[in-house]
């Protein structure tokens, strides 16, 4: 029987196309338009060419924010990924505790970003916060509003608390998909615990871990709400990450042109890294499928 050709299904894609156009493509085009012009408000624009890009590339402020951002993303990935795997390896595989564990692990993921920020902002306060007050009582000189290192530690611990669950749940899903036969074969071969992890569990988790790393990298590289609520980018500029700096520039100073140029460069970096991760991920899938 001959297949009937029906192109009407394309209409089903239209809502998505419209949504993406209004939420992403049109705003992005506007940002590109802003990046080559100057404005003093009133919707009046003056041609500036590539001046804003040149200015941003020479701006120490942007490079410093980028440096802080790379350090932040690097540190949280270095902590969250091994910790998430470790937690997943120790989570119960069967029984009632599985559900309890999964619910507990999911809880931090359900809390909105600004609430997480507020929780940690109060939690860390020396006068009324449980963490800050306890540390002060123990004689530890901790104050995230005045000390840059304390502010960094607070942000990193907060992010680890908020997002390690995601890595753990993904790793757990990867572990659950390993058939029992692999473990039986390992037992027959008297493989050590390390060998089981290295040659059975880790290879089977590679796919989900790459997704976890990609998600955590993109999210941490774009992070805004939590550090803004907790430290506001301070003390000084110590925790001014890229998005905080960008918002200060665009909305605080109303420098739309430089902020637009900044946004485009920021977007390009995220696009590049995401593409690299995506390519690695799809290639791993293909290798696994062979």
């Amino acid at each position: 029987m001959e297949k009937t050709v029906n192109q009407k299904a394309w209409f089903l894609v239209l809502p998505v196309l419209l949504l993406v156009a209004f939420s992403a493509v049109i705003p992005l085009m506007t940002v590109v338009n802003y990046s080559v012009q100057d404005t003093f408000g009133n919707n009046q624009f003056f041609w500036a060419g590539l001046d804003w890009f040149r200015q941003m590339l020479e701006d120490e402020r942007m490079w410093n924010a980028l440096r802080r951002q790379v350090i932040f993303s690097g540190v949280i990935l270095a902590i969250e990924v091994p910790l998430g795997v470790l937690i997943a390896l120790n989570m119960p595989k069967r029984g009632v505790m599985v559900s309890v564990c999964l619910v507990l692990m999911s809880l931090p993921l359900l809390i909105p970003w600004n609430v997480v920020g507020t929780i940690w902002q109060i939690f860390g306060r020396v006068d009324i916060g449980l963490l800050g007050h306890t540390l002060a009582a123990l004689g530890v000189d901790y104050n995230y509003t005045q000390d840059a290192l304390d502010a960094w530690v607070t942000l990193i611990v907060m992010d680890v608390w908020h997002w390690t669950s995601l890595v753990a749940l993904l790793a757990y899903a990867g572990l659950k998909s390993i058939p029992d036969a692999y473990y039986q074969a390992a037992r027959i071969d008297q493989a050590s615990r390390w060998a089981v992890f290295r040659y059975i569990e880790l290879p089977k988790m590679t796919g989900v871990l790459t997704i976890a790393i990609l998600l955590r990298f993109m999210d941490s590289f774009k992070i805004y709400t939590e550090p803004f609520v907790v430290t506001g980018g301070g003390p000084g500029n110590a925790t001014t990450l890229l998005s905080i700096d960008l918002v200060k520039m665009a909305l605080g100073q109303f420098d739309l042109g430089p902020a637009a140029a900044f946004s485009i460069m920021y977007f390009l970096v995220i696009l590049l890294v995401s593409w690299v991760f995506y390519t690695v991920m799809t290639n791993l899938d293909q290798q696994g499928g062979k």
């Binding site: 049109i26 590109v32 802003y34 080559v36 624009f45 696009l271 593409w275 290639n283």
Partner: protein, 90 residues
Amino acid sequence: MAWMAWTWPTAIFFMVIAGLLITFTIIGVKYPETPRRGILRIETTRGDRLFITLLGSAFINLAWLGLVGANQPYALIVCLIYAAAVFRWV
């Protein structure tokens, strides 16, 4: 459309990108291809190579602006050489 602050150079920029996407879609429909492996050892289609070219060109332009700082149009010549290399070897 005034709120989008359009200028002719940015309009041409987007028209070129839209034109490239439409051209590659038509080529893709008319001459179907199988992905190939190049020097990056990853499977790429024509669309992938176009993406690598456009993304790389953005960075070439930024690097030119930051390092050379003058005669920006010459960066496009580097981009064309880069594009040819990507489509030939990647």
